[in-house]
Symmetry: D2
Subunit: 258 residues, 4 copies
């Protein structure tokens, strides 16, 4: 079971234009620093946050309880001009977990409701014994040589965004999520996705748009270790210098559970 | 003429996995803080940075000279574990400007070259009298009501990413760039794009994928003011509560030049 | 028993001037952000860091174990241009605890040794059942009215520094430490100091230099709660609007232990 | 003429305890990040900020005008839960400059006034042609060997604080200010202080408390360069390995003016 948290800035849209539009660079800094900050706090408990839309962030939070979430909300309130609400859900797939997390929060009021503030809506938390996360770290083959060092920066960015769009479209159907994490890298929380299904998706995308990917898959009972194992898996393929598409690594904690 | 700067982390890929993969949350924090930091520094001179791929960022930098760029590189070297190189270019369209910026930097060595470090490659700088920037701030109509407050967070994210992909695909053909700036917001540096061309693109996307956008267009001789005017333009449409698709605002500095 | 950690930047002096002196503002930002960063990470585990000399920081770390310390070192290495070593010690008084923490680290090599890097030297850790912290939050009476709003800013700063110097001089003899925490506020980890001893010190300082203080004392098994109770104690005196010098609050965890 | 800016958090004391005391670690992070942030923004214009009391900071701001100050206030308002007011003054000595800066601000209302918010009170600005700054960078001789590597961390901190107190006491009488900048380092904006006067102060302190200092003095028309030259001056003494107490460096901009 994977546990996901939706982190939502309270009533943010109106704030950004009250009393008149705030300076765009300030908004960008605020959003980046808020992401960095909640990342650091969830990471202290082995969670992992994805920036998503910045005003709505999704995090893998297995092992992180109600008090931990509350402490993070308090800390943000004390240092930022905005506050955050959170919804927490769990599921056999990341898609289901974030869906329940979202629903729990939506029930408490809208994102632009002036009343809902610092809500912590927990649908469910994963028990330690059921905690299991599968993450795929996916990158684009040979991007530095073919794109970054040869094409205009925006064209490379366009290709990466295109890859993201195709990966998202196919993974969401399998209950897996996909997040851009910088460079040519994506992370996909993907409990329930089989390695063969991922290989099929990667091969299909190569066929459709000519972009080749590879992926390390990591499995653990916490996000930090699952992500790390997926990184190691990707490194193993890079070093192997072969045409392998997927490499799986798992730790002791993940061997018995799904 | 618009001036754009490509900001590239030196030899970053290898660094992230040496001696072994670095903790993913640390990488995410590092990237977000680097973006926030260069944003703050360029913003002090009325520039505007887009996070793009985080290891490669694009910025509008009209009015920012060689020494300013150099000082930012020095400041990053003193406070981060990585260094940055930059390329600067100018053009009648943002696409051309970033292309020249990229080329200038590529000539000095690859992104993963161990030799190239803290390079500042300037193809050209915009003269004050030719300085002109057009920015469109585009958002999705009614997203909070229809999506954020009703759909799972990742589905909303998926829709926003889809909109981004379609906008990018069409704008790049017109020499305009498109960057996601959080929430349901995009910024498009778009010198040379006519308001009617933008309306056509927005209407075509509505037809193709059923997502409606609106846009404020701002024009000035610096990125900060152009962005601000585009924000005001968008607010004007929101307040008008009509079906207007585009609203243009420009300041004194931008009236004579293109 | 209180547990203290000495956090020391490795080989920092030489780094600040290699190859030539680094820009002073960058050094100041680096130091402030390093402090904010380790603060945030220790705080996630209910610790509390004092900036001390910035290149050497002291923290109260009851309840924070070897792995926690290691994870913080790793995180700093991944995001800063410098690394940190740490020493950990425990004692009946804060003075003894920091002394053992320092000794443990000194044994591993000097602060400017090129060899010693990311050392984690643990003399001892406090057991949960022995964990006890007493903190005094001390401020200067009526500073806003008499000084901030009437005297030149530097004169007020001078008075605060003078108060700090006198408080430090007297507290250190009792095994208590004193840290400036901004404004007119000081925090004194002071296990073993009796309320009457603190009252005597405050009265003696008033006699000697004419500066009046008051103090809230908090007691708990972790730094966060002890500090919070000391804040509440101070608020109680402020609200009482009387001439009380010290107010003590303690929680359940601290009632049986010293 | 030196120009100094007093940066004061508006109505901060009450904020820290409303509705109840805020978590101490959050307060510490907020203060450190605010300092880092205004530092970065003033530094973009070659200014230099000293953390002073954190809720009241003093900065050397020659060359930084009304609009620059206003833009920094706006930027803080958009990203922090607090706002800042500023006073600006100029003088033949730093003491006079900060005194006028403070007075200008005090006239607009108290630090804890609920009405005064984001005030920018400018007594005067330095003309480019009169701009002149003298900074002394002072450190303690041989501190790593004698103290950091041998004494308990807090004892070293105590010695550094004692040195600060003695330096402040003597320098203020000469119209010079003194700020602790980390480690064993102090910076003294000291227009009008002669090198011999500084030597006398250093020798007197050695006599009184047995602590030896040395100092680099830098002179320029902006704070960044003056501070850099003072760093270089200190390095020159360190490398000379002699008993020199003061070394002066100045650039072209500072040769004619005082």
């Amino acid at each position: 079971m994977i546990q996901m948290t939706l982190i939502q800035i309270d009533n943010y849209g109106p704030w950004t234009v009250t009393p008149k539009p705030r300076n765009e660079s300030d908004i960008q800094i605020l959003q980046a620093e808020l992401f960095a900050d909640v990342q650091r706090q969830f990471a202290a408990k082995k969670g992992l946050v994805f920036f998503t839309r910045f005003d709505n962030m999704l995090a893998i939070t297995n092992g992180i309880n109600r008090e931990d979430h509350f402490r993070i909300q308090r800390s943000i309130r004390n240092r930022f001009p905005i506050t955050i609400s959170m919804g927490v859900g769990t599921g056999e797939t990341p898609y289901k977990a974030q869906k329940l997390a979202t629903k729990a929060l939506q029930k408490k009021g809208g994102a632009q409701s002036a009343e809902r503030k610092e809500t912590l809506a927990i649908d469910s938390l994963v028990d330690e014994k059921d905690s299991y996360i599968q993450i795929a770290h996916i990158d684009i083959n040979g991007i530095t040589e073919t794109l970054t060092d040869n094409e205009p920066a925006f064209d490379t960015n366009f290709i990466v965004n295109k890859a993201q769009h195709y990966l998202m479209t196919k993974l969401i159907k399998k209950g897996a999520l996909l997040f851009f994490i910088g460079g040519d890298n994506f992370m996909s929380p993907c409990n329930g996705l089989s390695p063969q299904e991922l290989i099929d998706i990667i091969e299909k995308i190569k066929e459709e748009i000519g972009i080749s990917h590879k992926a390390g898959i990591g499995r653990s009972n916490n996000a930090e270790d699952a992500a790390y194992l997926s990184d190691l898996g990707l490194e193993t393929i890079r070093e192997g210098n072969n045409n392998k598409i997927v490499h799986i690594l798992e730790d002791e904690t993940s061997k018995k559970i799904i």
